[in-house]
Subunit: 363 residues, 2 copies
DNA sequence: TTGAAAGCGCTAACAT
DNA sequence: ATGTTAGCGCTTTCAA
């Protein structure tokens, strides 16, 4: 009796409120009605919980597939208070470094039962805050946040509201670190670059570094790491040899173009990410310079493309798989209510390929 | 009275069922209670509908921000029967071509009030079907589906269930097209390649084409378009000069390596996507060949990176912005219940850069 | 202008 | 082993 009543109500509502052409998907009530049981029973067999007789189970399953039943995860999320969805906030998916991260996060999260919503900030903090708000409104279970387009306050406000946020690869001045983070030893990365270039005999070394319009150095740590190592080797960085970019191919080319037109141009260029390094490579090519014979170029990130530039790009590797695993472990453990210690900084690693070579002057 | 009762029930439930540390976000009931009105009233002021006195409106708004209210989009979705979310299914975000599409879709959809769930199939049809099912279970309002990892039957089953699906850039034999699609004239793209290479005097032309393990040519149309144009110019494609890849950098390099070791190697290589073309460029570089002096290379897609390879890559441009706009227009109009005519095929365009040049033999 | 009440599709405690 | 019931947070019709 109750079933009939409920069902009736369903039908009334549907015919009045929903657009006509909509093919309504079956609900557990439809299955229940067909199988002559109650919705709770259907829920039990579908979820595999409770104790249900084999006969009922089979009957329900049959009708479920017959009616093309597809669970409504929205309804499930509402009652369970969890969406099994995480948010991933990155600056720009067009940068293969972030695309690689996004891929790994999506894959690993999916393997652990979570879907991920990938969102780009385009380095815009207003948009970034808005996107975070929206993710929270959509009740994602947690967020993995990469820097660029995300202000500290925006992050803090999420955390304050009880939403787990893991900050990944943030590169701030010491002391500004957020508590739940998995980071990389960027400073060491910068050092490795300096050591590599110095070891090849380079003395006139340029750096193309990502600096935002507001003057903030985005790649602060990798820059100072390099700068300090150079100074320690009695080969301090010449300010005239430092140029700015915005992490894009275009900016890398423009910066290199400018540097290579200097009266006393550099023999090596360190671009603080691979995209700018690739931009620098074309700039050299367009000037008829050969890499690495005339000019050494080194990047940072080791994007999937790095081994496939002509010549293959020397760069600093970031262990993406490990990074993502740590971040996800941290996030999911918090979601499950456990507390995990944030891991130590990951160690960068120099990958020597063919874009760097002995300094011509020192030959 | 009722408010108190309801609220009481809320609190009981919360304290018994939810994990302890969870910071519960305010609901409209919390606001209602604080403001001394009913939940319906709160809903009205928040949505801007209904007629509400200025005084009530302000009071509600004040408490809303005071309590840090964030709407629960899950609850909203459940009752409104719409999530304002679309699904985007692509093979592999690591391919900059798809990253570009994904970026454009996300941006444009967001501008129109929709979030997008980006999902990768990794060319795995089993996974693809699973992901589609999941998107449907999450009740996305519609799906934009790119080929690779998506079987016809999986798509059909979504459409049959009433979920709008727009197929983008499918490259199938004629007659197999899906109804709601926005496509590109791939065949014409292949022709453009052939004409360009022929015009530069090349006769020994290689093609590196994406062929799946099951023998299906993924880049079928761009391949046959080129093949036919070559045949029409009395310069039929030599089967020995055709090699297979899987759209990856690696496969492009491997295929080119093999082709360039042939007793009578090609003077030009057409890779059916830019990634393989870039792979081919390194292969040439590793063999000490100069592009384009010794070997011309042409790709397909015009990824953001194409102008920044050394030398910049000649390729076929796909108007991504227009493509995405058309797909989104189509999808959103269907979601809104309107019907729109699928647009005509987009026209590809050859972008001549520096990776192709006059055939050395014909100089 | 506001309140009462029903219901979106599902889960889970409790009762039988 | 199965049914009853309440409720997740919200929207919306209907009544007052």
């Amino acid at each position: 009796m109750h079933i009939l009543y409920t069902d009736c109500a369903h039908e009334i509502r549907r015919s009045t409120l929903l657009p006509i052409q909509e093919t309504n998907l079956a609900t557990i009530y439809d299955i229940a009605k067909a199988a002559g049981v109650t919705a709770a029973t259907v829920s039990y067999v579908l979820s595999g919980k409770g104790s249900i007789s084999q006969a009922t189970r089979e009957k329900v399953m049959r009708y479920a597939s017959e009616l093309g039943y597809r669970p409504n995860l929205i309804a499930r999320s509402l009652i369970k208070q969890e969406t099994h969805t995480i948010g991933l906030v990155i600056p720009h998916i067009i940068n293969p470094f972030y695309a690689g991260i996004a891929e790994t996060v999506e894959r690993s999260a999916y393997a652990r039962g979570f879907r991920t919503m990938i969102t780009n900030t385009y380095e815009d903090e207003r948009l970034g805050a808005e996107l975070l708000e929206d993710l929270a409104a959509r009740r994602v279970d947690g967020i993995i946040a990469l820097p660029g387009g995300l202000s500290f306050s925006a992050i803090q406000s999420m955390i304050a509201s009880g939403l787990p946020v893991i900050c990944c690869l943030w590169e701030e001045e010491e002391g500004q670190e957020v508590s739940l983070a998995v980071g990389l030893d960027f400073k060491r990365g910068g050092q490795l670059v300096a050591e590599h270039l110095l070891g090849l005999g380079h003395r006139r070394i340029s750096v193309i570094v990502d600096v935002k319009a507001n003057g903030r150095i985005d790649h602060h740590l990798r820059f100072t790491g390099c700068q300090e190592a150079l100074a320690n080797a009695a080969c301090p960085l010449d300010a005239a040899l430092v140029s700015n970019g915005d992490s894009s191919l275009e900016s890398g080319e423009a910066a290199a173009h400018q540097l290579l037109h200097l009266p006393n141009p550099p023999t090596a260029i360190f671009a603080t990410n691979d995209l700018m390094a690739i931009g620098a490579m074309v700039a050299a090519w367009k000037l008829g310079m050969r890499v690495p014979a005339d000019l050494s170029i080194i990047g940072f990130d080791n994007i999937a493309l790095a081994p496939f530039t002509s010549p293959p790009l020397t760069t600093i590797n970031v262990d993406r798989d490990r990074l993502v695993k740590l971040a996800l472990d941290l996030l999911l453990s918090i979601i499950e209510g456990k507390q995990l210690e944030p891991p130590p900084l990951l160690a960068p690693e120099l990958i020597a390929r063919a874009s760097t070579a002995i300094c011509p002057a020192s030959r």
